[in-house]
């Protein structure tokens, strides 16, 4: 009677594998959702930090430009990450309606719907409107046009 009620070893093995796979799959899917959420949050925080640091760098370059005579050379290089949380991001430098010396740096990620903007005020030089991908950047004073230019280093 006992042998009749027992499961065969194959069934026991199959059940073990199925339960193990179910648990693993559940963990993976659960972790994926959590990781996606965390990635987006991390990406948002990273582009915010990149935007703030780029904005401060532009302000500092503007202050370096505030001499009686125009600087002969003014270059500030910054090593920002190529990707944030695994996603590429783009940087757009644009003017602002707030005033002629006001600018806005927009940052947007490729994989996530994240857009961050940072306001920059420059009274000593114009800022060239441009679009670059994230990564190692150079802020340079272009004397012929009296503009600060953001470009890839």
């Amino acid at each position: 009677m006992m042998d009749d009620r027992a499961l065969s070893s194959a069934v026991t093995y199959a059940l073990t594998v199925v339960v193990a796979l179910s648990l693993t799959t559940g963990i993976v899917f659960g972790a994926e959702a959590l990781i996606d959420s965390q990635r987006e949050q991390t990406a948002r925080e990273q582009v915010e930090v990149v935007g703030e640091q780029l904005g401060k760098t532009l302000s500092t370059a503007g202050r370096l430009n505030a001499t009686d005579a125009e600087p002969e050379t003014l270059v500030v290089e910054r090593s920002f990450p190529d990707r944030v949380a695994g996603s590429q991001y783009r940087i757009l430098v644009a003017g602002s309606d707030a005033g002629p010396d006001r600018y806005v740096v927009y940052l947007e990620t490729v994989d996530f719907d994240i857009n961050v903007s940072v306001a920059v005020r420059l009274s000593t030089a114009d800022l060239r409107r441009t679009r670059v991908n994230g990564g190692r950047l150079r802020v340079r004073y272009h004397e012929p046009t009296r503009q600060l230019v953001v470009e890839h280093a």
Binding site: Q53, R63, T73, V76
Partner: protein, 332 residues
């Protein structure tokens, strides 16, 4: 039966094999999870940004060092101008800059930065200008005492001092009868400085009107020996003892911002006194309706009031090369 093994129950016979299979399966699952973790971590790798931003990286250190060097140069320039004769000042300041160079390089090289100051002999290493002055009043000199005239055209104003000794009671008090000194720029608008007597009392009003039309003023008691108005320091001093120096915020509001202005006088007969105006152009380039040819009471004197020094700053992230202009104040 010979050669035959005793029969065993199926479950008991396969237990070691199933254990090995389970172990192998668990191992595969564990390796898969670890690999998955590594792949996800690699794809989501995020650099730490907080430790990549400081004053040196951003360029703020270049500004701090530049301001320190500028202050040091101004102090040395003032010393040279105060302690050496006219014909020695340029050589002495040039020598001073050369002596600054090596200590500055050594100090900053310890922190991984190259900083240097030089004064090139070519170009225009020194800033010369003109002091326009007249101690015989504010009317146009040598020209039938015209009260409305142009002191200088298209110049940068470096320094300005007025001494007001009297106001013309015959013209009457109030703003409409004021002495006006205007700084006119077609793009930036006009700044106007006025002097007039309070219509309801003996006080003297010193008034500044901004290009926006906003008016600020300082009032002082009736003139005795006169008031000295220093636009650079924004102060008004009683002439009698020279110690009663008081700030006048209206004066410091004037922002000429190194732009070119036409300096004009209207109502020059409304007050008496003297002026000293330092501009950036040499005497030959100062266009004025005053007569500076020697017959006039007004004087146009060439002076040395500044120097240009090249400043270099190199760090791992910053390359900066600029000319610093040292012009702390007017010197004799």
């Amino acid at each position: 039966m010979a050669g035959m093994r005793p029969s065993r129950r199926a479950g008991a016979a396969s237990t070691p094999d199933r254990g090995q299979l389970l172990l192998a399966g668990a191992f595969v699952v564990a390796v898969t999870l670890i690999a998955l973790t590594l792949v996800l971590s690699a794809s989501n790798y995020t650099a730490t940004l907080s430790d990549q931003d400081d004053l040196v990286t951003r360029g703020g250190d270049a500004i701090t060092v530049r301001e320190a060097v500028e202050h040091d140069l101004e102090r040395r320039f003032a010393y040279v101008m105060a302690n050496y004769d006219d014909d020695e000042r340029e050589d002495q300041f040039h020598w001073t800059v050369e002596n600054m160079s090596t200590p500055i390089q050594e100090r900053h090289s310890r922190h991984g930065r190259y900083v240097n100051v030089t004064q090139e002999p070519y170009g225009e290493p020194f800033i010369e200008g003109t002091r326009l002055s007249d101690d015989n009043g504010f009317e146009r000199p040598n020209s039938l005492d015209d009260p409305n005239w142009t002191m200088a055209t298209d110049v940068q104003v470096r320094n300005l001092t007025l001494v007001v000794t009297d106001v013309n009671d015959a013209l009457g008090a109030g703003r409409e009868n004021a002495f006006n000194l205007s700084f006119q720029n077609s793009e930036r608008g006009n700044w106007t400085f006025r002097v007039y007597q309070d219509p309801s009392g003996p006080e003297i009003f010193y008034e500044v009107e901004a290009p926006s039309g906003y008016i600020q003023s300082c009032r002082r008691p009736d003139l005795t020996d006169g008031h000295k108005i220093d636009f650079r320091t924004g102060t008004i001093t009683e002439i009698d003892d020279g110690t009663n120096l008081e700030p006048c915020p209206a004066l410091t509001a004037i922002d000429l911002d190194r732009q070119h202005y036409n300096v004009t006088v209207t109502g020059g007969n409304a007050a008496s006194g003297e002026y000293s105006l330092v501009v950036d152009e040499p005497p030959g380039n100062v266009d004025s309706t005053a007569d500076f040819d020697g017959d006039s009471v007004a004087d146009a004197e060439e002076i040395l009031y500044g120097a240009r020094v090249n400043y270099q700053y190199y760090s791992a992230t910053v390359t900066y090369n600029a000319t610093i202009e040292i012009a702390p104040e007017e010197f004799e």
